[in-house]
Symmetry: C2
Subunit: 208 residues, 2 copies
Amino acid sequence: MSQVAYLPVGKREQTKAANRRSILDAAREVFGELGYESATVRDIIRRTGLSVGAFYNYYRSKEEVFEALADDGARRFRPLLRAAYETADGFETYVRGAIQAYFDFLADEHENWQARRPAGERQPHTHVQTPEMAAVFDEIRDALAEVMERGDAPRVDPDYLAVACIAISREIGERMLQRRPLDTRAAADFAVGMIMGGVAALPRLYAD
Amino acid sequence: MSQVAYLPVGKREQTKAANRRSILDAAREVFGELGYESATVRDIIRRTGLSVGAFYNYYRSKEEVFEALADDGARRFRPLLRAAYETADGFETYVRGAIQAYFDFLADEHENWQARRPAGERQPHTHVQTPEMAAVFDEIRDALAEVMERGDAPRVDPDYLAVACIAISREIGERMLQRRPLDTRAAADFAVGMIMGGVAALPRLYAD
DNA sequence: CTCTGATCGTGACGCGGCGTCAGATTCGAG
DNA sequence: CTCGAATCTGACGCCGCGTCACGATCAGAG
């Protein structure tokens, strides 16, 4: 029974990975229960059973844990986004696929661990800047540009377009979560309609 | 030279108002220079010359000062919004007026006291929930509903619509501030186009 | 003007969260 | 088994926060 070749071989590597996960899980719970503001680094640490010093071997602050959480979310969402891109056969199907995927994702995450916090609270899926988030932004902008190039839609300022699409999705998504019954489909219909109509009416980049 | 009848008559009232202003001004500067996160209640207090205790007679925390700042912004913006409503003679002119007003307002505030902070920073004009902010939201939603009723635009879910319009304006506005040269007109063209086209294509509330 | 209660200002103080670091412990290569 | 490096531990000092007992100032009554 020597050296069962798992992914992280050494014992050190294993506990390291486990601790990272443990901290992230604890943080999710704590932020969910106490909210970001009033949560304490020590609150998170307590749930992990680690010592204070050990925690600081992994993350330098509460903020950094929060970012890691957001980054994690973005990382899990990315494949869904990519799938939407690859499945799509035009501008509208891409937008629809991406938004429906996002709203379902949102609903899922919300169910799972967001123990009903007051609205307007800081949430990992919004307004934090992390590398993975930036990557998602770029991916969306490029996909939009790419799909526009194919002639399915008029060419407009891709940066503003991406910003607007994300803004609509984010805010409609958040509003959606507060409504009962939860209807991701209706919300998606709204967001997609807004974007599709909007693009058609937008000032063109190269008047031709 | 006795009792020149100013607006706040008593000396007490005067210094009270002066202190409130002083704190808000100091807070603007401090947040502008240090950023919200790393700014300290004491930093603000130091700039006012007040004592610690005196500060706490006016605001209970850094957060509360920040909200007061946001509230103040909303309060100054409201008349401009109202003017846009009263000047408008239809859906498009209202949307255009409101957005142009907002972007000009944004540009102004930015010039004045926002000593170029890293992007994504917490800013009083975004994502804070204050009574005055909520009032602005309601005003926009009602104005949109009202204008829709007049038949200038198809009727759609007013809540989602208001959320979407505000989201677009907010995010395009923020992006606009990062571009050189600063072009509020172009940004407004984009946002208005997006909204106008979007509304036309939206799922109707009462299919008729 | 004086007196008096009330309001407001002052700053030292205690509390609590933060991040560190010297020492202990555990791992794993040789 | 040995030893150096990686990791863990938790007591410690620091710093910002909000309070509160006390003093100063004001406004109104007499």
